[in-house]
């Protein structure tokens, strides 16, 4: 923490701040400059809250120097975490493809989709049974019936299942069927739910919130890991900006920096990240080219009739083409897809 005093701060004001630093158990270092005095604080084990100091008279600003995340940080654990689910690895040099419908709608739809994506190289089956929807009047998912269909598809294709958990109430039920629990963007800061999945130990995929900074995203992951569950996968799925041509703005630029900060595996969801089917394959390639650990995409046998997110679903043919492309990019990156 560095506290900057106002240009005209009095010696007494500086003394009061320095005393408060000492009172808190840290060491203040006064740095008189040409324009103003700064007070550098040392002796703290973790980051300090600027609000401890900003309200004192004469203080212009307080800038934290340390980062607030610990357990998710590569400084603490330099080697990359690999999350393993029924033999499928996320992280560690493999490129993982999670694919399936947005919502589980019918048994036929899921079985056909699961078989198609499996045949073309997908590793994990996605599909929503409990759907968080903006409108209370929209299709809310098949619930437990949907989970059963996913379990049946898992049996048939031998792919682990990833599905969203909406709330603590349905967590035990969802956890019974799911191999990976997905926390959606709107729940990224549902801290109670984060604590619950942290206690459960089952692998979790944490989507970035629509307006979350990378720092807040990592703090949300820290909630899970600090409860004892290190099996966390981060999923970039686009942030909200002023641009409306795409549904969200896929933020690939932060990923190389995120990689350097955290040891957790990172995947990208170009379906939600763009919201438009014809942009999904180009952005799946782009995501792979940044060097992430995998992608998650939505696939539907007949997107024009999908009950949710039809505009962004890949058709079966589009998925085949995407896999062909992504495989080649992953090869360039030295990652194995098969």
């Amino acid at each position: 923490m560095v506290i900057t005093m106002h240009k005209d701060a009095t010696a007494e004001q500086i003394r009061v701040v320095a005393d408060r630093v000492r009172e808190l158990g840290y060491i203040p270092h006064e740095m008189p400059g040409a324009q103003r005095t700064a007070i550098c604080i040392t002796g703290n084990k973790g980051p300090l809250d600027p609000s401890l100091f900003t309200r004192f008279d004469g203080v212009a600003d307080a800038v934290p120097i340390s980062q607030p995340y610990k357990l998710v940080s590569r400084e603490l654990k330099p080697d990359s975490t690999v999350v393993e689910v029924r033999g499928v690895k996320v992280g560690g040099g493999s490129f993982c493809v999670m694919a399936g419908p947005c919502s589980v709608e019918t048994r036929d739809q899921v079985m056909a989709t699961a078989e198609h994506v499996r045949k073309n190289g997908a590793h994990m089956l996605r599909g929503g049974a409990f759907k968080p929807r903006t409108s209370p009047y929209d299709f809310q998912g098949l619930k437990e019936e949907g989970l059963k269909i996913l379990a049946e598809a898992r049996e048939a294709t031998n792919m682990p299942v990833i599905t969203e958990v909406k709330d603590a109430e349905t967590l035990p039920l969802v956890a019974e069927y799911a191999d990976v629990l997905q926390i959606g963007a709107r729940n990224m800061q549902n801290f109670s739910l984060l604590e619950r999945v942290g206690e459960l130990g089952k692998p979790v995929m944490l989507k970035r919130g629509l307006s979350s900074t990378v720092k807040e995203w990592l703090m949300a992951a820290e909630y899970i890991v600090s409860r004892g569950n290190r099996n966390v996968i981060l999923c970039e799925r686009g942030i909200r900006t002023f641009e409306t041509l795409t549904r969200n703005t896929l933020d690939l630029g932060v990923l190389p920096l995120l990689r350097a900060i955290t040891h957790l595996p990172i995947i990208v969801d170009p379906s939600h990240g763009t919201g438009v089917a014809k942009a999904v394959t180009p952005l799946a390639r782009a995501a792979a080219a940044t060097g992430v650990d995998g992608i998650m995409v939505e696939v539907h046998p007949d997107p024009a009739k999908a009950l949710s997110d039809g505009p962004q679903a890949l058709t079966f043919v589009m998925f085949e083409e995407m896999m062909r492309d992504v495989r080649r990019i992953a090869e360039v990156m030295g990652q194995s897809v098969d």
Copy 2:
């Protein structure tokens, strides 16, 4: 819904889309233009999902014309809703001031603050007992002990209590003590929680999400109202933008439009909306000048030592000055503060 076809869409493609519209039970009206054909849909009772049509060949775009909210809409209920809590009215021409500490920290802190704000004209006591915090290592609130302190302050000052409910698990406990349940910005799209408070019937204050459009905010309110609870207060508390001088960007500009769209009462939180104490009073005045139904502000006996959000808390003296100013603005607006 208006579907726009591509410039070079074939007659056959137009026919397929029109057939689909009829199949769904609506009436397609083909409108051939100089450049392209549009298909206007009538016969639908509510808004249609564009994704029903955007994936058909030849379709350029599908633009919904109706709005998706119903029960919260002033078109459905033209007269303004007044939420009444233990004799305190929110809406209907009075100007309601909710004030108190960010977090309940000690009995003394809350009692002193409650008495001070009461004496200076506040109508409702705010204070957090269950605190959603970005970091798992930050102070998470006094929990039930905090609720008890709030209840004691209610007895002493005769002000109803508004406090945040974080999750469905603690809802019964919080509801036992609270007069108004606050849903925080990060929970605005926690649909399961919205449904629970909708079923409960107790007054709810719904804060706007950090990156939520007004439309999404109204749909979140629709979740609550559609479960039978019409006692919903909307609270604007700032959105996330690129500007970092303030903690959030208080979006007062949407309020006159929101007022025309919905019959629900609207209040403003300039404490979170700016995040800086010296901006709170000017923005409280500004909020009052837009004609809203009240404000919520954070007050602390000693902000420099607050356990959360110290930088934005008003001191006792600042609160007095704010009340004096806000009272005068409310008078100009023809609203009574007392």
Copy 3:
């Protein structure tokens, strides 16, 4: 500037950075902490560029402590600047109302509008003759003919004229007719134009750019002032965010902080700030309630037939009502409107 070293930075890496600081003429202070070492720099007269240090091995971050603006800063000149134009004051306790059409369209339109706003208490006449438009096919203004009409309206009403200058080429012509030169939001970082109006000495109103931080806005003002022209008025007119209900998001929250940072007068444009006529008066009131030095609003005799920005123009009746309201708010603030 404080440079933070990586946790595992070597003593040699720290030495190299410290040497570089000395080489640049400043004094490095090494602050070894529990986790990592920081290097505080003193001896610099102004802010340093972080990029001077971030590329050195072992450096984690470099955080500037000083602010980059000087001449516009209240630290340098504590008393507020008053810009005086033909007897009209902007700043210094008066509340200035600038009003008129978006574009000059016809002599009749401008004369009628000028007389109406004058009669109802406006102090300055606005109107665009050179219009920057998003589309090359939109109405681009009446150019010199428009300036002549404005000059005629000035004669008739004795109000000074404020009009936009689009480029250096037309600056001499515009400066011949205008009393205040308006720099539009899209030109806020047109540094060559800023330098030209800085050399000219005529009063300038600098609108905030759509995606400009307050810091960038002040640096743009610094361009003008550093060329010798201290007659600069800042105008907040809304920033671009994800919300589309309003045309822009009027950022009133930064204004009390801006007031503390700079001595320049500040006005607000609720017409562009909201883009919707029925929101203009409420936001004009709100702006006045924050304590700014004035507002600029668009008024048109028949907004439904305006050649530009019709949706946001006040009718004559709406302007009267707005003036009545704003006058009362300004009174509360202790400002004189007449």
Copy 4:
């Protein structure tokens, strides 16, 4: 254009709007729905301005259906434009690499950089001689001396030169030396400058504005093309969002959609798009993987001592590695780099 009337709009109000449509020369089609009436307009040649109708009584909304851009649109010109500069093609299946320093600082710096990037496969030399800077106190470029150094480097390496033009005043001078004129992000809506470079005919690279939608960007290109200059290259360089980890948020997601809308070639600038050197190569790969026509990157012999934008400059070694990677991605995309 589709005009939606309020639920309770009167027959008379609908008639007035329909009459206005006819008065403007178009055909109104009344579409009575279950909830409200819509009026579809046909007979217009181009897009209509919603503000023509939104101010009439009873009108709820007016939604444009046509797009405002014409000459830059692929609907008008289906085949992709290739911009050719001294034998170097941008567009048409080749992958063009533009590289060089942010600012021209010294003859040695430019010559060394030009030779290095040329040897490693770059096609065009970039370098700024007139620098738009946020602060008036920052290095503003070597001006004409810088242009001469670039010209000398062109002679030595046979690469065409791209350099920024800041204003109309220096355009003739810059055009004398430059092969491609770069319009910077802050000048994207400097319409006067767009008109000037439109008249000149020389190839132009138009960077996207920090807060510009794709539609506004295309309208800016339309300004240039409508003046007769079809040699326009679009350059995505990141938009401004709330995320501060990167300097900007590189918006790769819009590129596949932009490709479908316009025939103009598209390149990406990952240096400004991320602002952090270690993210540049991963994002250069990602950009290539979306299928664009090239990239522009900043390279410096000693980034730690660069006079501008040092944090984002690639070292010589980093550039070599980037070229090796990008070449392999371009191969996957079927584009030739050599």
